[in-house]
């Protein structure tokens, strides 16, 4: 009988209840809240639900996930060495239509302007006391590209990965709430009613040459993001080539889903209490909102510039789509434009800055890596 009690005692001693810190408990609650946001509220469920579940698993003590080989170590390897973001970008590329951008290359400028949010946020972060690499990683939230944000953060400030990933994906899903008021603030009703000319047809030739040419140019200029841009454009080549549909399908589906699971569960695993439960996390979340708002505003304001220079042919609403968050931001432009003028169809026009924003964020990340360099180097 005594042996029985001793044994039961030993099971308890080896359990995770023993060794559960208050930090773990709070992180479990954070995980539950994130799960509620992801599944209950529909905030980027594909990513956030896994991040949240990973957060739960990562805060169970004594699992050995961080020191013993196993499936979680395999996943963490892929996180810590940026294996997954380029593979996600391959699938994103296979889903991206650069047609509207090729039809109207001027909208590239809107995608550039909206990256201003990244640097507003970077400046803010440094003023609030974050160091340069942390500030760069926080700023990239404003780029509204999950894989790029994760890629840069792992290189620059891996201890912030959880907070930045959560902020980035949360705000990306909140784009339909964050953007409209800012957009109406930066435009007049007359602006919003502007109808744009229909886009020219883009040939298959252009669609095939563009990903190749842009890969070479951007990779040469910014080698640190060659993996990201290269995979994005390779995926797009699968989509456009016409003879690579098998690979396009796999890049968008089987491979992307597998990598999404690993990326997001692994990101959640890194959310340890001592890294996440700091007042900096709250600052990051606030700065992320500033970044999104600033990006939206700068996009719209640059849209105003383009409206004037084009003689009133450009609806400034499409500027807000430059933050990327593809395709949600473009849909927001469409919805806000249609509210002002029910016969207004801005979707395809907004897709140009929208996909330009993806490239712009990768360029911004590459520039920061080139100027600042990865951590520990």
């Amino acid at each position: 009988m005594e042996a029985l009690i001793v044994s039961l005692q030993s099971v308890w001693n080896d359990s995770g209840f023993e060794g559960l810190t208050s930090g773990n408990v709070i992180m479990l609650l954070v995980g539950l809240i994130l799960l509620y946001m992801a599944i209950g509220k529909g905030f980027e469920p594909l990513l956030l639900s896994n991040i949240a579940f990973g957060c739960l698993l990562g805060n169970i003590p004594k699992t050995g996930f961080f020191d013993e080989p196993g499936v979680m170590q395999v996943i963490l390897y892929g996180i810590n060495h940026e294996v997954f973001p380029p593979l996600i970008f391959m699938g994103v590329g296979a889903m991206t239509d650069f047609g509207p951008l090729l039809a109207n290359p001027k909208t590239l400028l809107l995608g550039a302007a909206a990256q201003g949010g990244v640097f507003v946020c970077l400046i803010g972060a440094m003023l609030l006391g974050f160091d340069l690499r942390e500030a760069a990683s926080i700023g990239i939230i404003g780029g509204a590209d999950g894989p790029t944000a994760i890629y840069l953060t792992v290189k620059m400030a891996p201890h912030l990965l959880g907070a930045i990933a959560v902020a980035a994906y949360s705000y990306m899903s909140l784009v339909p709430l964050i953007q409209p008021p800012i957009m109406t603030l930066c435009t007049t009703k007359k602006d919003r009613m502007i109808k744009m000319d229909q886009l020219r047809t883009v040939t298959k030739f252009e669609r095939i040459i563009f990903p190749i040419a842009s890969t070479i140019f951007i990779s040469l200029l910014l080698p640190p993001v060659c993996a990201l841009i290269g995979m994005l454009m390779l995926g797009n080549l699968y989509k456009e080539a016409g003879c690579l549909d098998r690979l396009s399908d796999t890049a968008q589906n089987a491979l992307m889903n597998i990598v999404t699971i690993f990326l997001s569960v692994g990101t959640g695993l890194t959310m340890e209490a001592e890294k996440f439960l700091r007042y900096q996390t709250i600052l990051i979340i606030c700065l992320g909102l500033v970044a999104f708002a600033a990006g939206t505003a700068l996009g719209c304001l640059f849209g105003q510039v383009m409206k004037i220079t084009s003689g009133g042919k450009v609806n400034p609403l499409i500027g807000s789509a430059g933050v990327s968050a593809v395709p949600m931001a473009a849909r927001v432009s469409q919805v806000v434009g249609q509210k002002a003028n029910p016969s207004n169809f801005l979707l395809m026009h907004a897709m140009g800055p929208n996909v330009a924003g993806v490239i712009g964020t990768a360029v911004a990340a590459g520039t920061m890596l080139a100027m600042i360099g990865p951590a520990g180097k």
Partner: protein
């Protein structure tokens, strides 16, 4: 650290206690979940259908899937109306997997849900 005991009977007993204990706690959890369920309603009338349908599902091969039933019905009706009914053993509707793929492709023009 070696094992606590080598007595197989003791190990068996402790293990069964833990297994029963854990599953009983899970049962309590289930009751708690049911109790706090904010979506709980008088769902009884709905419940009848699936259970009643179960035997049929066991007996016959699943021919028609969930949401696609209408479509299948329409096609079957069309086929029947045209007088070719006997051969309709199984109208397989493109699986949900397929429809995601369709959706993905439909959205792909303008959509990157992951980005």
């Amino acid at each position: 650290m070696g094992p606590v005991t080598n007595n197989p009977f003791l190990i068996a007993i402790i293990n069964m206690i833990v297994v029963f204990g854990v599953l009983i706690v899970l049962g309590v959890l289930m009751h708690l979940i049911e109790m706090v369920d904010p979506t709980k309603k008088k769902a009884a009338p709905k419940a009848a259908a699936p259970v009643a349908a179960a035997p049929a599902a066991v007996a016959a091969a699943p021919v028609v899937e969930d949401k696609s039933e209408e479509i299948a019905a329409v096609i079957a009706a069309a086929v029947a109306a045209c007088g070719g009914s006997e051969n309709v053993v199984a109208v397989r509707i493109a699986a949900p997997a397929t429809s995601w793929a369709v959706g993905a492709r439909a959205e792909a023009q303008t959509v990157q849900p992951f980005c």
